[in-house]
Amino acid sequence: MTANQATNKQTPLLEVHNLQTGFKIGKEYFNAVESVSFSINRKQIVGIVGESGCGKSVMSLSIMHLLPQGIGKIRGGEILFEGQDIVDYDEKKMNGIRGKDISMIFQEPMTSLNPVFTIGYQITEVLLNHQDITKNEARTKAVTLLKNVGIPRAEQIVDEYPHQLSGGMRQRVMIAMAIACQPKLLIADEPTTALDVTVQAQILDLLKNIQEVNDMAIMLITHDLGVVAEICDVVLVMYAGKIVERATVEELFENPKHPYTKLLMEAIPKMEEERERLATIEGLVPAIKDMPAVGCRFANRCPKAMPECMQVTPRLGESAAEHEVACLLYEESWPKEERVGAR
């Protein structure tokens, strides 16, 4: 608790510096997340956007130390949670944080719950892990939590099994579990991707509500810019393991800078326009084995690519207030030593 008291209100809740997470392919490690830095303030909702395979899930699993054991590994950088570097925390220390200070909900509500235990057991487990309460108290709390996440018949549901619930209901149960100990940060890894559109909106409303009531920060991972626009404060756009743009939601939607962000926005279907086909981004994210060592990782798919894009690695530079971009089209992104000569 001394750490908490010592933490200044001004310091961000979560600070990530130069995080590198690698996966073992054969005998070598390849980075799926490459030098990512960002921070999340208290009560802030930060959206992380990018297409499949860009490293957004890996990043969130790194923060939770939930990478597949023996395959994925944090290879460098710092993860400061309330000022404490948790990169080197062992399982025991992490178990003190997971579910209590940072909790997580996942994309697949159908498989994320244990099929052979009751909903009640699975919610009370997290309470009993972190709080000094009796089983009966935990059960009463579980019913309250289920009511709070909008589950009808909570008294009965608490004794039912996951297979008796729909996907949306299961995701609500996951949320109830995640907020049980009133964590300071909730990592939501594509929480609505597997759900119907109508249910998606309900779940997002629920998350937003809980965030306001519990004063919790949310790191929302999604590939859906619509979701971002709806509830996020700040957006990070990721591509191939790197952050390519960071801005407040208003700024990003009014003034997207990175060609990748612009293309992502064009790929959103719009009601008012009549188009034969939806815009797409040609090509795929390169496999992590085939990442170019230097240059912009988006260069091979970028419509505005210049010869320099293959030789100079852009850095994330602030181009406007609360707006950073990593693209050589913007002077801020050039490495300092080359900035003068190149332009």
Partner: protein
Amino acid sequence: MVKYVLRRLLGMIPMLFLVSVVVFFLAKAMPGDSLRGEIDPTNTNPEYIAEMQEKLGYNDPVYVQYWNWVTSFVQGDFGKSTRYKMPVSDLLLEKIPNTVFLALTALIITYILAFAMGMYSGRKPYTIGDNLIAGFNYTGLAIPSFVAGVFAVYFFAFKLHWFPFAGSVDIEVQNGTIDYWMSRIHHVMLPAFILGLFSTASYTQFLRNDLIENSRKDFVRTARAKGTPIGKIYNVHILRNSIIPLVTFLGFDIASLMSGAVITEKIFSYPGIGLLFLDSVNNRDYPTVMAITMMLSALVLVGNLIADILYGVVDPRIRLG
């Protein structure tokens, strides 16, 4: 639930009827009959044999013989053992406790070994310990029990004198005393271990693979995200899921341990159903052979029923209404 069990029990009747037909005619098809056991060996007078054949009903048409046998069988009269000159039911009641004791001990040994080894291998796959366990198990699977049994008797009974080589209890001990039970346990250990070796191997490897598979499931990640210690995740979250397929084995085991005991009991001269069965076949004691075969067939059906009921207990997704 009760309705389900009753329905299943009713469904067994036609099955058992078919089994009884097969058992009876197979027994009839075997060469020779038990006359040589029933008549006075000094009296080989053909007239006497003919008289006895008539008296025992061997000259009746086959379907009459079947009818006589099956009607008395369902009334609990399994006939009279031609060899032991006593009702088969009394004979079975005398031997069944020994075999049940052997089978239960084998099952307990199997469970203790399989869970200890399976949990270790499942948590630490591809380590030296896991490979050693796999080596032990595949050896156990590969060696037939009659070979393993003979070697076990040779080494552990004759060479090392750790265990007795025959019987189910010492003669001198008093029935009911602690010494008596200790002696029985001492006698049953070696045959039970050999009997359980085969299923230990399959249980262990099955449990190991299921633990590995389940440890990669999403719900394990959820449990870790809740701050649940890894030991509890294995012992509660994963194991509870991995028990489900093992229930299938339990159903088989109930019957296979009883019938598997045939060979083991012979090797260890352990006076149970298996030894009785083999002796009865050799002596053409068909009433006993048929009764034991019927009993084992019924056990297979009951074993499957128990497994199906247990599925509902361990897996809420298929719980019966």
